[in-house]
Symmetry: C2
Subunit: 492 residues, 2 copies
Amino acid sequence: MSKEITSRAQDYSQWYNDLILKSGLADYSAVRGCMVIKPYGFALWENMRDVLDKMFKDTGHVNAYFPLFVPKSLFEAEEKNAEGFAKECAVVTHYRLKADPNNKGKLIVDPEAKLEEELVVRPTSEAIIWNTYKTWIQSYRDLPILVNQWANVVRWEMRTRLFLRTAEFLWQEGHTAHATAEEAIVETKKMLDVYADFVENWMALPVVKGVKSPNERFAGAEDTYCIEALMQDGKALQAGTSHFLGQNFAKAFDVKFSDKENKLDYVWATSWGVSTRLIGALVMAHSDDNGLVLPPKIAPVQVVIVPIYRGEEQKQVIDAKVQELVKQLKALGITVKYDDSDNARPGWKFAEYELKGVPVRVALGPKDLENNVAEVARRDTKEKSSVSLDGFAQHIQQLLEDIQQNLFNRAKSYRDEHITPANTWDEFVQTLDTKGGFVAAHWDGTPETEEKIKELSKATIRCIPLNNTEEAGACILTGKPSSQRVLFARAY
Amino acid sequence: MSKEITSRAQDYSQWYNDLILKSGLADYSAVRGCMVIKPYGFALWENMRDVLDKMFKDTGHVNAYFPLFVPKSLFEAEEKNAEGFAKECAVVTHYRLKADPNNKGKLIVDPEAKLEEELVVRPTSEAIIWNTYKTWIQSYRDLPILVNQWANVVRWEMRTRLFLRTAEFLWQEGHTAHATAEEAIVETKKMLDVYADFVENWMALPVVKGVKSPNERFAGAEDTYCIEALMQDGKALQAGTSHFLGQNFAKAFDVKFSDKENKLDYVWATSWGVSTRLIGALVMAHSDDNGLVLPPKIAPVQVVIVPIYRGEEQKQVIDAKVQELVKQLKALGITVKYDDSDNARPGWKFAEYELKGVPVRVALGPKDLENNVAEVARRDTKEKSSVSLDGFAQHIQQLLEDIQQNLFNRAKSYRDEHITPANTWDEFVQTLDTKGGFVAAHWDGTPETEEKIKELSKATIRCIPLNNTEEAGACILTGKPSSQRVLFARAY
C-alpha cells in the first residue's frame, strides 16, 4: 500500500490527520485554519445534511438564509454573546483593493474604501437573525417561528484541527421564537433529541444527553443542552448543542409580541446547531489503522465491486453479471460503485476502499462465477465470506444493517466501559490519566471549583446527564456537599 | 386585499420590489446591500438548487467546498481576474474585537489583531481553487477534475436590487480542469446547455444562447458563453455564464500536468455559475399585478386547497374529502397544502396564494361536495373551472403541465416578438426607447464602438448568438463592415 497511515497506538493525533488527508475527506488550504472539503468528504457531509434537513422539516422547521456579515453595532447588542465571540472574529473593514503604486501587479487595501461601520463575519447568527425577527414579530399569531439555516461561519481559533476545529466551518443553526418559556424549552429539548437520534441511529455513535454547567454554556444562553460522544482515545467530543436563550436576545433587540390578552412581552428563543465537526467525531469513533470505517447509512458508497480477471474475455463475462447485481442492489436503494478501472490492480483497490471506509467490498472472478458466488468483505470486522449470487442483494442489504448495528454496539460497549465513577481526587486523576473516558464524580456546583479542576486535571464538565440519579456525596476537589455526579472528561 | 402592490404600468421597478417583499420571498437586512432570503424564497431556491445539482451530478460532476477567504497574494495572481474584482471586494483585515475603553459595552477593532496578510471574501473562487488544484494535479490521470461548489460570494456592488444584484449572494460555481483545450471547450458548452435546459424547462423562461463580446467577458476568461433572457419590461437579463478560461489560471498558479508522452503542459480550465439572481429573473418574467406566478415544476407549493364552510360539522365533511384528495395528489408527487387555518377568510386566502404565485388553487364547499366537484383556479390565466372529483388528481397533474407549458409559450412569444432588427442608428435607438427587447444589429467588432454605443444608448451587446447567421452589413454606429448581427439590449 502506497498510502502509509500512522497507527493509533503510535500517534493517535497523527493517525487522525493521516486518515482525513489520505482517504480524501479534506485538505489543508492556503488560508490559515481553513480547510478544503474534498469531494469524498463533501459527499459524506451531503448525506448527513440531507438526513438532518429532513428531520428538521419533519419537526416543522423551514430553511432561510441570513447575511454573512453582522454590523458591529448589532454584534455588540447582546453583551454576553458579544463578549464570547469578540475574541475570535474576522472583521471586514474595507470594501475595495487598488493597484499598489509602488509594486506593479500587486494590490493594496484602498484606504479610501474604509467602511463606516465594521462588519463581523458571522461566528453565529443570533444577532443578525434577532434583529430581523424584530420586523417579523408583532403578535402571538406570528409565533412560533421555526427557522433553520445551513451556512458557513467563522471563528478565528488559534489552534485548529481538520474538521474538529477550523476557522471556517459549515453548520446548520436553528433559531426559533416562541410565546412562552415552556414552549421554548420543549423546542430546545426536542432538537436535542433530534440530534441524539441522528448521531446514534445514522452515525452509529452513542451519546450522553445532558446540560452544560454555567462555565460551558453558550455565550448568551440561559441553558445549553448537549450531546457528548466518546472517541477511541478516551477523549470526549461535544457533538451538538441546543440552547434555551430565554429572553436575552429579544431584550437586546427589543423583540416584543402582544399576546391574546393584548399584553406586550419579550419573545422567548432557542438556537441549536451541529457542524462539519461531526465528521471528525465519525472518523475518530469508528476508524482503525487501515483507514476510515463509515456507517453504511451515511457512507457515500455503500458497496464497491471489484472484478478479478485476466483478459478482455473474462472481463466481459464478469461485467455482464455485475450489471445484474448492480441493478438489484440499486433497486434496494443501495449505493454501489463498480470499479473496473484498469489503472490499478485489485490489491491496490482493496486497500484504497478499505482506506475510504466503504462498508462492503465485493470481489468477483471467473471461479466465483463458476460457483455462482462472490467474495464479500465487511469493512468493520474485515471478515470475508463467500456469498451465493442468488438473493445476493438481499444478503448485502442485511449485511449493511448488521454493520450499522455492530458499529453502534462496539462504540456503545466502549463508551459504557468508559464511564467510571471516582470518589477521591486521586482516583479521579488516575482514571483520567490511565483509562480516559468519562469520569462520574461529585462537584460542589461552583464555577470556581470547575475552573480549578480544569486547571489541575485538564478535564472539564462535559455535562450533567438528563434524568441524572440523585446521590448525596462530596465534591471531588473541595469535599463540599453535592447531590449528584456529573460527567468529567478531557475533550476535543 | 391588505397587501397593495404597485402595478407594472405605474412603476415596474416598484412592482418588482413590492412582489418580492410582500410575497415573502425576501427582506432587506441591516447590512448594506445584503438581503434576507425568507423561508418561502428559500424553499424556491432549494427546489432550483436540487434540480441543478442533479443535472450537474448526471453530467459527472461532484461537489466540494473551498475556503470563504482568499489571501491577497493569491487573489492578485491572475491579473485580469484580480483587476476585475478588486474594485468591489470585502476585505478582512483583523481577527479580533476588544472592549472599547472609552465606551462601556461597545467594541472596537483590536489594532493588535491585524492580519499579516489581508483576506478577500471570495467574489468568485478561481484563485483559491486553482491554488488547490496545483496539489491535486500531477498527471493526465488526475484529469479531468469536475468539481462544483454551492456557496455564498460577496461583491461590493454600489447599487443593489433584491435578488438581482446583492452584495452577498448564493450561487454555484463549477470549476473544471482538463488535459486539452478541446475538452475544456466541450465542457464549457455542455454546461451552457445544462443551464439553458434548466432555465427553459424548469423555470419556463426561454433563453438565447450566445457568446459575450470581449468587453463583457468574465475577468480572466478566454471566452464567456451566456444565456440571456428577456423580462416583461423589455430589458434583458443574463441568466447564467460558462467560461472557457484557457490556461490563464493554470499559468497564474503554475498548475502543470504530464501527458501520456510525459510532456509537461499547463492545465485547461472552465468555470460556470448561476445564482439566486435567477429568482429575480423568474419573478420579472412571469408575474403579474396580482403577485407572483411560479412555474409548477419549481413552485414550493403547487396546489393549495381552501375549504369553504360554516360551522364545524361542514368542515369535518370537507376535511375527510380533502384528506383523500391530498393523498391522491401526493401519490402523483404533487406538493399540496391544505389551508384550513381559521384566522383568515377564504377571500383573504385566495388573494394571499395569488400573491405567492401558487399555480393551482382549489376551493371546496358543501355544494361542491354534493355535486362531486371542486372549483379549480389556475394562477397563470386566472381561469376558474368546476372539476369532477373523480380522477381529480390526474386532472390537476395535467393542469400543472399545461400551466408550465403555457408560461413558457407566453414568455417565448413575448421574447420572439421582441427581437427586432435595426439597420440605422435612429431605428436602433427608437426600438430601444419605444419597444425594448433585443435589437439585432451590425457592429464593427471593436471594443471602442461597443463602448460608444453603450454610452449613447445604454444598450450593451448581450451576446453573439451561437449558430448565428452570417450576413454582410454595416455597423449601426460607424458604418464599418460587419459579417453578422449581434443582440443588443438594455439589461439588468
